[in-house]
Symmetry: C2
Subunit: 458 residues, 2 copies
């Protein structure tokens, strides 16, 4: 490789260049996302209603569609300094391996013990809970990144933390569980007999492996049944996307420093928090007519909410206790096949991203998991980072776009979000290494069946 | 915390500030480490003899006692840029938690997939093997960090890699094994029936859990029985300490930028590569009379080579096929108790560090593992990084020194090496979380027994 590169392998911002405000993309959207609805009344949720479930300040953020910038409290900025800024990496080695004229960058969020971007929102949510004088918070976790992040954040602010972990993950990922315990959190496999909704599910399906939707219902019930507790969530909600804009804001500052203008910005999408956080500042420019970019959401073919779902109001959880949200959804009863590895298994999508996608401002594609792990292995070997299965969806799409550039000779600049590391996903890598990994694409009939159970909302 | 800190939480060097040469501390030592001896002849090993086991360029580095600086080849510098510079972190949160006037810094080497500093030397050794036109390399790994690092380095240079992994680790750390496989290396639990020495050990001890010394013997035999292969080692040797000086050189540059002069530099010590790499540039100043520092080597009480061993020639491996080295040693037959977690389980110590310690230029202390995990948990919760058990030995000593400063009111500056992360050590954390971790200190009789078997060398 040449020694005359003007752009370093890794661009790190200085501490004083880190964002002091989050960016709220809704302020620049002419047509806003549809409001959350109260499942009991069918009417938009009021702040008062939401405050029974969520912390007050987070409710305010959830409902705020007008302020483009929201100050990041100093305590959160200080915590961010422990693990941020995250590097924006020029993937010189990957470019060389692919022999592509494309220029590839990735924003790497995995350099912290939660192993992902989830800590960006966890610390904000824990901070507001502490500030409100709460005793603790409850949450669910699927693959475990969010549970780890929240346990770290709560430990820092000395808050009680109770995590409901999807049972199959709890059993398959004993090390994730142990990290969460090391941070002092309580952890319960879901469904459990500690909640009414859990007992109900267990009565009907005694061998249930659990699901994200079910764990959410348990965590919400646990929060509302204890004095001084609230429920917090790691993705999907607009408040979470807001906190995650530190990813996009840092990325934009780093690119601007070197005069780089991306053509394509790519992120994996489950509930949408990482993708939303990464693209928001760039989307803002697009919405204001200041610049144009292609945005690509990459989702698993086994859980294709954007590419094969419908845009409609749906339940956010199995127990139907959460507000209804208008989103691209596969139906709250949808569960990806058991052979689906890693996260990105939520049946719906952030309402902000759903609306942007519906307006044609963002593209979406789905990829199959063997192709994803093939990309993961190439990336691990050549860039030296073993990626999370979730993040590898973005890698797959970035490689595919770079290979298109190779065909056309275009020198496009591609930026993708590398949300985390795969150190706790080695069962999935083992399946891939052993040639035992399978793809799974739900049939139209399956999807129609779960979509048919959407609530009827005018 | 105040917002007026002049020193950032994390000091990152610019790419152009990264070291272009390694520092060879032997050049500044008046009394050099004793030479390696050929076990057959009892005479100093020649370059020709060593070249049957090691790559030529690495042999030259092993024997080089005169050049203070050795150029880092451009290809290695390029690879370093993928995961280095590593941050020098000001432990503001830990200082606050301890309420100490001490200023604590740590150099964090865990932000790469090998999870430790081991990659610094792995990439150098793989590079020289490739440059020599070899087909592949063999090695042993205990806790698994070195095996992971070498598999990453070999994958990058498209070299075959065969790792003998101590059997108990192979079984207890399936995820480490899977990472190594993902990087395309072959991995064999040791003792195995693939080598003569392995078969001999299995015949005598059919249920052997393996040891580092035994895995070394197998890897050396495997290398010498295959055309185009050499053996590489992740610690102990002077060449490895040389490569690891990137840690100390970066640390010194970062400190110098902010005008910080450390009082105490602390590192964990197993074979000595991390500690040697961290302290070398500072030790050079001390040897040249330019500055003074306290250096503290921290080792496990269950494997106390510096604090309870003898300074003598000893075998480096169980099979007695490697050169003899003069070092602080517990005898090559010594094995730490099975309840010892993580690495730092080698019976001897780097010859450079042994000589420096013998000259009184460095201190050593041993710590028990429950105290180590207590420090690890404090650190994880307050600094947000879940440390490796090995690294946590240094954390323990740093906390103890900071608490002494609290008593005396001294504002000492403490720098320690945080060699890696504990993501693959969660069994050990689980034992600690469950209150099942035990301490183990070998008795004098045990040590005398293994030390009595040292070879007789004039």
């Amino acid at each position: 490789m040449s020694n005359e590169k003007k752009i370093p392998y890794k661009i790190y911002l200085e501490e004083n260049e880190m964002p002091k405000q989050w960016y709220n993309v809704r302020a620049d959207m002419k047509k806003k996302p549809a409001p959350l609805l109260n499942p009991a009344t069918g009417k938009p949720c009021t702040a008062e209603e939401l405050s029974h479930v969520f912390c007050d300040e987070l409710v305010a953020q959830e409902l705020n569609e007008t302020d483009a910038y929201i100050d990041i409290p100093q305590e959160i900025q200080d915590f961010y300094k422990m693990f941020r800024p995250s590097p924006l990496v020029r993937a010189y080695c990957l470019e060389e391996k692919l022999r592509t004229p494309a220029k590839i960058y990735y924003k790497f969020e995995g350099n912290n013990t939660s192993g992902s971007h989830k800590l960006n929102s966890a610390i904000a949510q824990a901070y507001y809970a502490k500030k409100q004088g709460l005793k603790g918070v409850t949450t669910e976790t699927g693959a475990g990144q969010w549970g780890t992040a929240l346990s770290m954040a709560c430990s820092y602010f000395d808050l009680d933390c109770h995590v409901y972990m999807v049972k199959c993950s709890y059993e398959q990922k004993p090390f994730r569980r142990e990290v969460i315990r090391t941070y002092g959190a309580n952890i319960t496999p879901s469904p459990s007999d500690t909640t009414e909704v859990g007992r109900k599910i267990l009565a009907e399906f005694p061998n249930s492996n659990g699901s994200l939707g079910c764990a959410i219902s348990e965590a919400v019930e646990a929060a509302s049944s204890k004095e001084g507790y609230r429920y917090v969530l790691g993705s999907v909600l607009s408040q979470v996307l807001l906190h995650q804009t530190v990813i996009g804001l840092e990325t934009k500052t780093a690119l601007d420093k070197y005069g780089i203008k991306p053509d394509i910005i790519i992120g994996c999408a489950g509930g949408g928090s990482n993708l939303g956080g990464l693209i928001s500042p760039f989307m803002g420019e697009k919405l204001r007519g200041e610049a144009d970019y292609r945005f690509i959401a990459v989702e698993p073919a086994s859980c294709p909410s954007l590419t094969r779902g419908v845009y409609a109001y749906d339940y956010c959880d199995t127990g139907k206790v959460c507000p209804l949200q208008k989103m691209y959804t596969l139906g709250s009863g949808f569960m990806p096949s058991a052979n689906h590895a890693g996260g990105l298994r939520y049946h719906g999508m952030s309402s902000i991203l759903s609306e942007l996608y519906d307006q044609g401002l963002m593209e979406a594609r789905s990829v199959e998991q063997t192709a994803v792990f093939e990309a993961a292995e190439i990336f691990a070997r050549i860039e030296g980072i073993l990626p999370a299965p979730e993040s590898s969806h973005a890698i797959r799409a970035a490689i595919d776009e770079a290979l298109k550039c190779k065909e056309t000779g275009e020198e496009k600049t591609i930026v993708f979000g590398l949300t985390g590391t795969g150190y706790f996903d080695m069962y999935a890598y083992a399946a891939y290494n052993d040639g035992k990994m399978q793809d799974y694409i739900p049939t139209d009939e399956e999807l129609q069946k779960s979509i048919a159970k959407l609530p009827k909302i005018d």
